[in-house]
Symmetry: C2
């Protein structure tokens, strides 16, 4: 029996949607979230792809996330959209507020969409790409759950709180990035532990608060911010904007709520997210032209790349050849089709 199963993107989308509906999700939410899973697989960010499907099902089964949630969109101010995700998955909330947010950004020059009561942490690249495809610059930040110590401390308080940025380009798909503001994503440490290799210095402290390169000791301890005290400052900004400003949960609050459910699905509880949107033609008309000059100068140096390029290369291959799914994960998901 082979270790992997080759799937087309359509097969990934259909299977995911079918499993979601069979396990308590509305068809309209399932269509959106199956799209997220498919995009993540296509882009090579498997940690937000099929790998998530069992967790999404688990958190609907235990009642922590409502698969039928209908997000409520509020026109809060001329430049602000507020979306209550209603303890549902966050992608339908982004879709629900999107057209109002785009309209405001185009008329005001800048706008923001705040989300609260997010049941899951979405791949933020999916959130920002759709705004950049609509011609806007987007910055998204989200809280998650407590896994990261504040700089100088030794106890988890912040999350791996991601920040994402997308920017439109002329005649090309948007460029941008999406990364955890912790030194490493949780999954990277879990993989190291499973495969029995060390992690780099600076990723984590053990449960006694000492620096460790042992992945298992790191999982029992606490993760560290990226970029030392500067990255710590960025994480704090993410907490203040994504949760403090929007009314979503800080990571420590999300964690307290997740404990009620045993947190078997590992996602955040009622986290917050802020998406800041800007019209690139707000100040002058040559933005798209000018930034290509910068990108050319970056790529003129050997060893550099424009953030996002690897994603598009993966996407092109996936559309052509499909994607490999681990056979055991494929079987696990197939078994969920019956609900």
């Amino acid at each position: 029996m082979p270790d992997t199963v080759r799937m087309t993107l359509d097969e990934i989308r259909d299977l995911s949607a079918q499993v979601f509906v069979a396990n308590g999700m509305s068809q309209s939410n399932a269509d959106i979230i199956a799209g997220v899973v498919t995009s993540a697989e296509a882009d090579g960010t498997h940690s937000h792809g099929l790998f998530r499907v069992p967790g999404y099902v688990a958190c609907m089964k235990n009642g922590r996330v409502d698969g039928h949630a209908v997000p409520a969109v509020l026109d809060t101010a001329p430049g602000l959209v507020s979306v209550d995700t209603k303890s549902g998955f966050s992608p339908p909330a982004v879709v629900a507020g999107r057209s109002l947010a785009i309209e405001k950004t185009k008329s005001q020059g800048i706008a923001a969409m705040g989300l609260r009561n997010n049941g899951n942490l979405n791949a933020l690249w999916w959130d920002v790409e759709q705004f950049a495809t609509a011609g806007l610059i987007a910055i998204a930040m989200s809280t998650t759950r407590s896994l990261v110590a504040p700089w100088g401390g030794d106890t988890s308080l912040f999350g791996t709180d991601p920040i994402a940025f997308a920017c439109p380009r002329a005649d090309k798909p948007p460029m941008g990035f999406d990364f955890a503001t912790s030194a490493a994503a949780r999954g990277e440490i879990m993989v190291a532990a499973r495969e029995g290799h060390d992690i780099p210095e600076g990723w984590a402290l053990d449960k006694h608060g000492n620096p460790t390169t042992d992945a298992n000791a790191a999982l029992e301890g606490v993760q560290l911010p990226f970029g030392e005290h500067k990255g710590n400052a960025i994480i704090l900004m993410v907490e203040l904007l994504a949760a403090g400003l929007t009314g979503g949960n800080f990571c420590f609050e999300a964690d307290e709520q997740a404990l009620e459910f045993g947190a078997i699905d590992g996602g955040p509880s009622n986290a917050g997210e802020i998406i800041i949107l800007m019209d690139p033609s707000g100040y002058h008309d040559s933005f798209l032209e000018r930034i290509e000059g910068l990108f050319e100068r970056i790529l003129a140096q050997e060893g550099t790349r424009i953030p996002g390029d690897r994603r598009y290369a993966s996407r092109a291959r996936a559309h052509e050849d499909g994607v490999n799914c681990p056979a055991n994960l494929h079987n696990q998901i197939l078994a969920m089709k019956a609900g």
Copy 2:
């Protein structure tokens, strides 16, 4: 003869303003920029204090920066203010656009002020603190001049492009940060070279593109971003927003222009800056109360601090005891009083 001269904050302000006016600055610009110098000295950020005065004089003398510039404020869109600094110093431009930017933020929920043609790089903390004191959340980013290689490359293209954040607090001065998005500020490497000690790994490459811990080799080579590829992504975002969006110069463009003047003053030429402003009561009324709960949990861990606390401790001491200025710098500035 003592190595340092003790000065009161009033003395610093008066001397700076007098020297600026004697060397080609309007009185109104001098009052503002002397205030910046004084605030920086009070806060312990001496690299933006009296240390800068000779450079400011030099770049007025060589004609690169116009000390008499009157910034032009444009009401670009309901959420956007644009300020043309007219090749003057940037603080008067921030002051010129401030009331319109505050008014827009309070009515729209979010707004931005873009600056272009900045003759100097200001301490961004000064730029953001005044908005936080007015009750708003502020994020500022600025281009500088080419000193930093893009991640994977070996040739300067980006700047030490700072990012600053300030957030109001209830019954306390604003919290926040202001740091270079390079691994180190230029001045830190210059100090290491002068004092003959090594710099940490990860700060710079030598002129052959190899990692170096030799400060002199680093000054002949190129600096590196903070936080590896993640910090590199943040720098790129700063370039796109602070310069691409506002119409200010990318760092490589600033550098090309500075060469015309021999760049003896070391500042940027017609750089750009973006200040994103948000109303903390835009989404709900308990922002100020909620964030104190987060700060309490941070400070409950030994070894942590809230960004900005060290600055306020220094400020309190400076108001009481004054500030020490190196005697040779003091003499150099005194000699400029005659113009």
